[in-house]
């Protein structure tokens, strides 16, 4: 499921990226690569989100979070 649907304080593992080519590389280079663990730290105004990724915090807009395909950790 997309990262944008993961609940607050929940964790998931990245399994793939969708969407336009440039955006995909951009996200991959930032560290959204298969097997990486992500955590939703905060939902902000307009449902944008702050995610924890390998010890750092990234502010992400919702449209990008839709493109990141994850598996929730509970299901692993």
């Amino acid at each position: 499921m997309p990262l944008s649907m993961l609940g607050l304080r929940n964790k998931g593992v990245v399994v793939g990226l969708r969407g336009k080519f440039d955006l995909k590389i951009f996200l991959a280079e930032l560290g959204f690569v298969s097997g990486k663990e992500v955590e939703i730290m905060q939902y902000t105004s307009g449902n944008n989100l702050i995610v924890g990724l390998g010890g750092c915090r990234l502010a992400l807009d919702r449209s990008l979070a839709h493109l990141i395909e994850i598996i929730p950790q509970k299901e692993l």
Binding site: E29, Y43, S45, N48, G55, R57, A59, S63
Partner: protein, 702 residues
């Protein structure tokens, strides 16, 4: 650092050989600029958000008889060249070929920072890794095995703390040592992309090596990887030069097809995955951390400051506090400076014998400069707040909180940072627009930025609002600022719907941990802004004041004229008066006459000069021994409150100052768009002032 004396007897040849060019590369907010400052003894502004350094900066360091030219590059996550900053950094590394690259790494965020390192490895650069902010990493319980890391990366690794200058000498030592080694690297590391990809890389390399020139100019493995990544710039460069262009192109195409068929993903993504895989393996061997709280202190602050409901109200509240403090607190020292200027003026007018010189000094120079210099306290306080926002890490949050709002307005969250910086000065704000990855977002942000009222326009508002609106002056000034922001939003939306159709790019930004700002850093920032301001006063504003005085004093009325001309009639007859009269018909419907016209014309040089011009126009010929309020009284006789309001609005909107125009031209890279910026601002200024003045008259205000 002390400069080691270069041996006097050393020949020029030796001097040339003893120069090394070093570039600082690293992720945004990894502390490159603090390392740069520690290396060179310079004082570049260091902030706590990604994108403080937007241009490369140069300085010099000295070590063991070497003169080391240090270049601070803008922060980049990779060398893929998405944003302007990445392009600047990459072009420098590839084209200028620094002797050594110092790769600055944020130790608290090793994994992501090493991504850039993997690309430097691929480039075959001579590099030293600076593990920066080791104190913070230690505090977090992170342990990095420096020796192991160096071995695995094939580069020396040095621990540093840029802010206090720790590890700087070691860094210089390693840089010099690496330069002296004759072979490219003591141990050259290859990142393994997996059997399938490696095979294709070899095939492309083989084609490249057949070319007579290419292998001598570039590192073929890197080229092969870049071609696999569909890198446009590299492809252009290679296909432009290579004799065996067709063979290479054919091989690259077939490799793409093969990889994407077998691994079922774009080759770029596969390569990025593999680099992170390499990093993962590296971390397993050289990195460990004590289990730490998943929720950091910064997360707790963010719970409140970026809260879904509270975020925006808190942001507005903080901005309100910023403006209130700037005006209220700044008012006290402003009064002291004002009375000081009054004393100087009185002293000068009594000390210098009556005549031309007296007139020039008192009515030209002192009233011109004095009117502007009184605003120094306000400007200092404003920049204190802007530094505070930058250094704590709140600026990145502010941009993010506003992203959704900005998006509905057709702008990008990151456009918000230049807007806040614009309250200080539009020139630095417009440069700050470089953090926007998307070109149309950037042009749009630059075009509307001058509508954000900078500190140079503040003197005009304080003078006019203080004169005409008495106790409501603060509210009037605040409304002018708000008007500017609303106009910026409306104009932005209009342009987005008509000229720059399409959506703003999506938002991604790293949120740095909150840091307590260093007093020193804030003071340096304030001092720099103050010195820029004072230099402006001593430079362009001084010259402008003298010129304005000259233009109002000449030509002298004929001595044989029967009746002595009044002061106004005299100015009207002067060069300035004639220019003002010429544009008066256009300004008449806005409520102010030729004197306002002259002030607006001169204000194009720098907006503070509007006040200087009023000083010269209204004070000349008056009794200078009167109270300091002469200017205000003279203004009251000449303008109505509605006209003053209309004038302030015009000042807010019309043509940015020459300095801002210069930066706009450079950043937009287009004369057409710069002129467009001038044109729309003039039309908008006239329309808004017209509506305000005529509307006010209809509603019965005067």
């Amino acid at each position: 650092m002390l400069t080691k004396e270069i041996d006097e007897t050393a020949s020029n040849v030796e001097l040339v050989q003893k120069r090394i060019k070093v570039a600082l590369a690293g992720n945004p907010n990894s502390g490159k600029t603090s390392i740069f400052n520690a290396l060179t003894g310079m004082r570049q502004h260091v902030g706590n958000w990604a994108g403080v350094t937007v241009e490369k900066k140069e300085g010099y360091a000295h070590y063991g008889g070497y003169t080391i030219e240090v270049v601070d590059l803008p922060g980049t996550y990779s060398l893929t060249a998405f944003s302007m900053e990445e392009l600047v950094a990459r072009d420098f590394i590839i084209k200028e070929r620094p002797d050594v690259i110092i790769n600055v790494i944020d130790s608290t965020n090793l994994e992501r920072n090493l991504y850039l390192t993997t690309q430097l490895i691929e480039l075959g650069c001579k590099a030293v890794v600076a593990l920066n902010m080791t104190d913070e990493a230690e505090h977090k319980g992170i342990h990095i095995d420096k020796k192991k890391l160096a071995e695995l990366l094939g580069m020396p690794v040095v621990n540093t703390i840029g802010t206090i200058g720790k590890g700087i000498q070691d860094l210089l030592k390693e840089a010099v040592a690496i330069k002296e080694v004759k072979e490219p690297l003591s141990r050259h590391i290859h990142i393994n992309y997996g059997a399938e990809v490696e095979e294709e890389i070899k095939k492309i390399q083989a084609e490249l090596k057949k070319d007579p020139v290419i292998p001598k100019m570039f590192y073929t493995r890197w080229l092969a990887v870049k071609l696999l990544e569909h890198d446009k710039n590299v492809a252009e460069e290679i296909y432009g030069r290579a004799q065996a262009k067709d063979d290479i192109e054919k091989q690259v195409a077939s490799s793409h097809a093969h990889i994407e068929k077998i691994l079922d993903d774009e080759s770029e993504i596969i390569l990025a995955d593999a680099r992170y895989g390499f990093i993962k393996g590296l971390l397993q061997e050289a990195y460990s951390h004590r289990s730490f709280d998943r929720i950091t202190f910064s997360d707790k602050i963010d719970k409140v400051l970026t809260n879904r409901l509270l975020g925006i109200p808190i942001l507005i509240g903080l901005l309100w506090v910023m403006f209130q403090t700037t005006f209220k607190l700044g008012g006290y020292p402003t009064d002291w400076i004002e009375s000081l200027v009054g004393h100087v003026s009185n002293f000068a007018s009594s000390a210098i014998p009556d005549g031309m010189l007296n007139d020039l000094v008192v009515n030209g120079i002192i009233s011109g400069i004095g009117g502007v210099v009184v605003f120094l306290p306000n400007i200092l306080i404003l920049f204190f707040f802007i530094s505070l926002f930058e250094d704590t890490g709140y600026m990145a949050r502010a941009a993010f909180i506003m992203d959704r709002v900005m998006h509905t307005l057709g702008l990008h969250g990151k456009s918000f940072i230049p807007m806040i910086m614009g309250f200080g000065c539009n020139t630095s704000a417009i440069m700050g627009a470089r953090t926007l990855e998307n070109k149309t977002d950037r042009i749009l942000t630059i075009l509307i930025n001058p509508l954000v009222s900078c500190s140079a326009r503040l003197p005009v508002y304080v003078l006019l609002a203080g004169t005409f609106f008495g106790r409501n002056a603060g509210t009037v000034i605040f409304s002018i600022y708000i008007t500017g922001i609303i106009l910026a939003i409306l104009v932005g939306q209009l342009f987005r719907k008509t000229i720059f159709k399409g959506e703003a790019a999506p938002f991604v930004m790293e949120l740095p941990p909150y840091r307590i700002p260093r007093v020193q850093s804030i003071l340096i920032h304030m001092w720099e802004k103050a010195s820029i301001f004072l230099r402006k006063v001593g430079g362009i504003i001084l010259i402008a004041s003298i010129l304005i005085w000259f233009m109002t004093a000449f030509p002298k009325p004929k001595s044989d004229s029967q009746i002595a001309l009044s002061h106004d009639e005299h100015i009207l007859n002067s060069y300035a008066g004639r220019a003002g009269k010429f544009i008066e018909p256009v300004l008449e419907p806005l409520g102010f006459g030729w004197k306002g016209g002259i002030a607006l014309l001169t204000g194009i040089a720098a907006k503070e000069i509007v006040v200087s011009t009023f000083g010269v126009l209204y004070q000349a010929g008056e009794n200078v021994n009167e109270e300091n309020d002469t200017l205000r009284n003279a203004l009251k006789k000449d303008m109505t409150p509605m006209a003053a309001l209309s004038f302030m609005l015009f000042t807010l909107i019309y043509i940015p100052c020459v300095g801002t125009l210069g930066v706009m031209y450079r950043e937009l890279g287009s004369l057409k768009w710069t002129l467009f910026g001038v044109g729309y601002s003039l039309i908008l200024a006239w329309l808004v002032s017209f509506i305000a003045y005529q509307g006010g008259l209809i509603l019965g205000f005067v």
